[in-house]
């Protein structure tokens, strides 16, 4: 176990606390958009996918990396697009859309 591992562990542990702290008071109307938003954020795996694909030396690695990049791109693009669509409904308070937000979000939750 080198110092490097310890360094990553430190980042990991601190991130756990930040992750918990940062969403501790989210209203249930926003549960689904929050889930969708964090879904988009773990799409950052695309960075990892690009790296393994770019450093691939064998055909097998290349093929796996290729699929990893496709899947990760889907995750990022889809995740953000879906979140944005959900949040569009919170943008203003147009009278009839508002109710829809609450109804649909509740439907999703319960």
């Amino acid at each position: 176990m080198g110092n490097v591992l310890l360094q990553y562990l430190t980042v990991f542990i601190l991130s756990v606390f930040v992750g918990i702290e940062v969403i501790s008071r989210v209203p249930s109307v926003l549960h689904t958009p929050l889930m969708s938003g964090s879904n988009a954020i773990h799409g950052v795996i695309l960075v990892g996918a690009i790296l393994v694909m770019g450093h691939a030396t064998t055909n097998l690695e290349q093929v796996l990396g290729f699929f990893a990049v496709i899947l990760a791109t889907l995750n990022v693009v889809g995740g953000f697009a879906v979140t944005d669509r959900m949040l569009e409904m919170f943008k203003t308070k147009p009278e009839d859309k508002k109710k829809k937000v609450i109804d649909e979000t509740d439907e999703v939750i319960s």
Partner: protein
Amino acid sequence: MTRGTAIDLCYLVAAITFILALKGLSSPKRARAGTFVAMAGMFLAIFVTFFQPGLHHQLWIYIAMAIGVVIGLPAARLVKMTAMPQLVAIFNGVGGGAAALVSITTFIGSNPKQEATYKVLEVLIGVFIGTVSFSGSAIAFIKLQELITGRPITYPGQQIVNALLALAAIALIVAVLVTASTTLLWILLVVSFVIGIGVVLPIGGADVPVLISLLNSLTGLAVAASGFTLGNNVLIVAGTLVGASGLLLTQMMCKSIGRSLPNILFSAFGSNITAGGGAEGGETRTVRQSTPEDVGVLLSYARKVAIIPGYGLAVAQAQHTVRELADELEAKGVEVFYAIHPVAGRMPGHMNVLLAEANVPYEQLKEMDDANPELPTCDVALVVGANDTVNPSAKTTPGSPIFGMPIINADEAQHIVFLKRSMRPGFAGVDNDLLFDEKTVLLFGDAKDTLSKLVSAVNAS
């Protein structure tokens, strides 16, 4: 500054944007801005990755990304809003799959026999969790899309089979740690895939959103594991953020439907519908408890709110605070009126007097007969310390002591919020079915106290 340092700095900026985004997503006002910030951070992180030294096959990377965009964007933009949960499920699943592939590719590309044990363990965790999330999300998608039944799918000995699979996975992880065998790693991948399916099959459609939240959290952890393997901080931070906040979110979702996570995962709820919906035994039924923040948002985004005051309002001397809340809501463009039951409180006109004292505009006060036709059009009925006067058993249960009493039809509103001191029945000593209705949430506590919390919650949202 070397190129590596510059790239790492950009990753740091991206990590910060992700934290800000999660923070923003916790409030309706800043949610959208938060998402844009995260998008910018994500773009930065991906963009600078192309400047990493020694990156080959760039053309193929572009092609793969183009394929992802061409499939993902239309899917996300064109699918109906009602199908959103399954879209989140599938986009989550592919993320898990990507994390598993990243981990496995790193393993193949390295010389596993020479790697430190902890390195191999990171790979194994990434492969295991990522694959479970992938197949689990796929099944969740199939269920929500109603390609298979949304009901729990069970078979005899299901728990045992799942337990055995879990044991097999653990054994395989240990075996790979010892032997560094690539073949065994592939077998682990298959077993993990089956576990994901096995765990999700017995979960009922209504609980799937909670499950997706859990799988989302798992994908985050898989991404973090890949981050360890690749020695990449932005993956560790982002993955862990999602993993930790996702777990908490899952907990919150469980709470808001009044169930525990193990109960959701292992009880095949809904295969035999007994709890929750039945009319028998008041004690076994669950109520949905909420928080002032939740209700504050619910109220702020309503069109029309009916406030139904009762004795609890009088006891708590909360008439001024309730007016404050009404004013706050009106300022946000919400239509507010008070539905006054003739016997609300302990004397006729009790409520009118109290509210008049607080200078509530007269035209906002509606007597029962005027209020009832309005209630079906209300988004929220806010019941402040009333109970019997909104108890639907007065209409529905001939044996009830209060049967035949005219009530305010709070049950016809879209959502019902009860501010109550306790679960004790009202003056008449009759259980109130409305408390257990699925449209109902409860806020326990002193009415005045709760109302002032609501005022600040409405203010903030």
